[in-house]
C-alpha cells in the first residue's frame, strides 16, 4: 500500500516514465514535478489533500524515483524535454503544473521550448536564488531548512536519494545551479503562483518576490510557519492555493 491509486508507466524520453496517480478520473489534472533527487513519493500528502477535486499525477523524471534513466545525468533542458515528451505521450498538456524546488526550474524551462504544453503553474519554493548561486550556500541553506519540515520527510527523501544515487544527484545539482532561471521567467505566459514557506531559508522572500514580479501573470503566496517542501510539510495550504488557481 503506497497510498497512491495507480502507477502508470509511459514510453517517453527513451525510457519508461513512471507516474503515480491519485484522484477522480473526471477531475482536472494536476501534474507534480519533483525537485532535486526527489520523486513522486513526497507529493503524496499534497495529492491526498487535493484528491477530492482533482486528479493528481506525480511524475518521476528520468533517473529519479521509479523511472530508470540513462547512465549520465540530464541537464535542465534534458529534464524539461523528457517532461514535454511525457506530457505529449499522456495527453496531459495544458494541465496545472506544480513544481517543487528544482522542479520549478524544469517547469520554467518547459515554457521556453514547449509553451503549448504549459497550463497554470504553481512554483513551490523556486530555486536557485541568484544571490546565493554556490554549492556551499545552497547546502547550508538546505541544512537550515530541516527544522521547518515534518520529521518523516527525511525518511522519504532517503529512499529517493538512494534511487537517484550520489553521482546523478551532484551532476543534476550542478546543472540546476548553472541554470539562468530568472531570464526564462518571462516566457511563462500562463497564470502562475509562486508559493514560499515563510520560514524557508532556501528561497528567501526577496528572491520569491523577484520571481513573482518577473512572471508576466504571477503573484506571490507565503505560508506562515512553513519551510521549503510545502507539498510534504504544509500540504493543506499548498492544496488550497492550487485549488484557488484551478477555480480561476
Amino acid at each position: 500500500m503506497t497510498g497512491w491509486q495507480a502507477h502508470e508507466f509511459t514510453a517517453a524520453a527513451g525510457t519508461r516514465m513512471h507516474a503515480a496517480v491519485l484522484g477522480p478520473a473526471d477531475g482536472p489534472t494536476v501534474v507534480c514535478v519533483h525537485g532535486l533527487g526527489c520523486s513522486h513519493r513526497y507529493f503524496l500528502p499534497f495529492a491526498r489533500r487535493l484528491a477530492d477535486t482533482a486528479r493528481v499525477v506525480a511524475v518521476d523524471l528520468p533517473g529519479f524515483g521509479r523511472t530508470v534513466g540513462a547512465p549520465g545525468a540530464l541537464d535542465v533542458r534534458g529534464l524539461s524535454c523528457a517532461l514535454a515528451e511525457w506530457l505529449r505521450a499522456t495527453g496531459r498538456g495544458k494541465s496545472v503544473l506544480v513544481g517543487n524546488s528544482g522542479g520549478c526550474q524544469v517547469v520554467v524551462d518547459l515554457a521556453v521550448h514547449a509553451p503549448e504544453l504549459l497550463g497554470p503553474v504553481v512554483l513551490n519554493g523556486p530555486t536557485m536564488d541568484r544571490r546565493a548561486r554556490s554549492t556551499l550556500s545552497q547546502f547550508r541553506r538546505l541544512l537550515f531548512d530541516g527544522p521547518a519540515e515534518r520529521a518523516t520527510l527525511g525518511a522519504v527523501l532517503a529512499r529517493d536519494y538512494l534511487d537517484c544515487g550520489p553521482r546523478r544527484f551532484v551532476a543534476t545539482f550542478r546543472y540546476l545551479l548553472a541554470d539562468p532561471v530568472e531570464r526564462k521567467l518571462r516566457h511563462v505566459h500562463t497564470p502562475a503562483v509562486v508559493v514560499r514557506g515563510a520560514c524557508d531559508p532556501v528561497v528567501p522572500h526577496a528572491w520569491a518576490a523577484e520571481v513573482a514580479s518577473l512572471l508576466p501573470d504571477g503573484r506571490l503566496a507565503e505560508v506562515p510557519g512553513a519551510g521549503h517542501t510545502l507539498n510534504y510539510s504544509a500540504p493543506a495550504e499548498l492544496a488550497a492555493i492550487t485549488r484557488a488557481l484551478l477555480d480561476r
Binding site: C199, A221, V223, P224, L230, A234, E237, I241
Partner: protein, 323 residues
C-alpha cells in the same frame, strides 16, 4: 492555539479595536489580513503591522456585501494558504432618540453590525471546519448584556452578536467540529474613534462614557481568547461589574444606565449637528486605533487612585491592630 505563524483575518481593521487587534497579532508574529472600507486607513494600518515584521494583506471590503466577504476569505487563502483566526470587529453606531433616527440609518447599523458578522462567519467557518481547527472571534460589547438609551440599533446588534456566537457554538458542537471555537469578546467603553465617527441626531456631542479603557487592552483580550478559547470574555473590569449587576438587579441597572448615559455619554454643554457619520461612507484619512479619550491615562489614574485607597485602608487597619 498558537498565535505565532497563524493567519488572522480582521474586519474593521482600519480603526479602533480592529486596528489595535491587527497590530497586536502582528506583534505576536501572525500574518494579518486587514479588511475595511477605507483604503487609505487600511494601508496605514498594514504599514504599522509590517513595521513590526509581520506579513500583511489589505482587502477593501464593505462587510454588508456577502460576496465581497467571501472574496476576502478567498484572497486570504490564496495569499497565505489558510485561515486560522477570523475576527469580526466592523461596527457602526448612531446616537438618536428612537423616533428621530432615520429608518434607513437604523437598518444600516443592523446590516453592518449583525449581517456583517453573519457574512464573516459564513465565509470563515467553511475554511476553519475544513482545517479542523480555528477560532472565530466576534466582538460584541458590554451593551450586549446591558441596555442603553439612544443607541437602540447598536445595542440590539450587540445582543444579536452574542446570540449568533452561542448558536454557532451549539451547531459546531452537534456537528462534532471540536477544534473550531467561537468566542465573544465584550469590551466596555474603549478609547476609539467610534464616538467621533458615529451618526448623531441627539443635538448633543457623543462622548466616551467613563471608565474608558485602551483598545490595546481589548486586543490583548482577543489574542488571549485565541490562545485559550472561552465563550465570552469581558474586556475592562467595570464592564464585568455592570454585567453582573444587570443579572442580579436588572431593574436597578436599567435605571442607573439610563441616567449614566444621559449624564456622561452625551455632552450636556457641547452641541453637535445632525449627521449620518460613517454609516454610508468611511471617514477619509489615515485612521487610528485611538479616539483621543485618553484610555491609557485614565486607566493609569484609576489604578493609582485604587492603589492609594488600598494603601490608605491598609494603614488604617494596621494602626487599629497595633493600638
Amino acid at each position: 492555539m498558537r498565535v505565532r505563524d497563524s493567519v488572522v483575518v480582521i474586519t474593521g481593521a482600519s480603526s479602533g479595536i480592529g486596528r489595535a487587534t491587527a497590530v497586536a497579532f502582528a506583534r505576536k508574529g501572525a500574518a494579518v489580513v486587514l479588511a475595511a472600507r477605507g483604503k487609505e486607513a487600511l494601508e496605514h494600518a498594514a504599514q504599522e503591522c509590517e513595521n513590526l515584521g509581520a506579513q500583511s494583506l489589505t482587502v477593501p471590503v464593505d462587510v454588508t456585501d456577502a460576496a465581497a466577504v467571501d472574496e476576502l476569505a478567498r484572497q486570504a487563502v490564496e495569499r497565505f494558504g489558510r485561515i486560522d483566526v477570523w475576527v469580526n470587529a466592523a461596527a457602526v453606531t448612531a446616537f438618536a432618540p428612537f423616533q428621530e433616527i432615520p429608518l434607513p440609518d437604523f437598518r444600516r447599523i443592523l446590516d453592518v453590525n449583525v449581517m456583517g458578522y453573519v457574512h464573516g462567519a459564513r465565509a470563515a467557518l467553511p475554511h476553519l471546519r475544513e482545517q479542523g481547527r480555528g477560532v472565530l472571534v466576534n466582538v460584541s460589547s458590554v451593551v450586549g448584556h446591558v441596555t442603553q438609551p439612544y443607541t437602540h440599533a447598536y445595542v440590539m446588534s450587540k445582543f444579536a452578536i452574542r446570540a449568533l456566537s452561542g448558536s454557532l457554538r451549539q451547531e459546531l458542537r452537534l456537528d462534532g467540529a471540536r477544534g473550531v471555537d467561537v468566542c465573544t469578546v465584550l469590551p466596555a467603553t474603549i478609547d476609539t474613534p467610534l464616538f467621533q465617527h458615529s451618526a448623531n441626531y441627539t443635538g448633543r456631542k457623543a462622548l466616551a462614557m467613563p471608565p474608558v479603557y485602551s483598545p490595546e487592552r481589548v486586543a490583548k483580550t482577543i489574542v488571549g481568547v485565541v490562545r485559550r478559547p472561552r465563550r465570552e470574555v469581558v474586556a475592562g473590569p467595570a464592564g464585568r461589574g455592570m454585567i453582573l449587576q444587570s443579572k442580579l438587579m436588572p431593574g436597578l441597572m436599567e435605571r442607573v444606565m439610563a441616567r449614566q448615559v444621559d449624564r456622561s455619554h452625551l455632552s450636556r454643554t457641547e452641541p453637535a449637528p445632525a449627521t449620518a457619520g460613517n454609516l454610508y461612507a468611511p471617514r477619509p484619512g489615515p485612521g487610528s486605533a485611538h479616539g483621543g479619550w485618553h484610555g491609557k491615562r485614565k486607566t493609569a489614574v484609576r489604578r493609582l487612585a485604587l492603589a492609594g485607597v488600598a494603601a490608605g485602608g491598609m494603614t488604617v487597619l494596621v494602626r487599629r491592630r497595633l493600638r
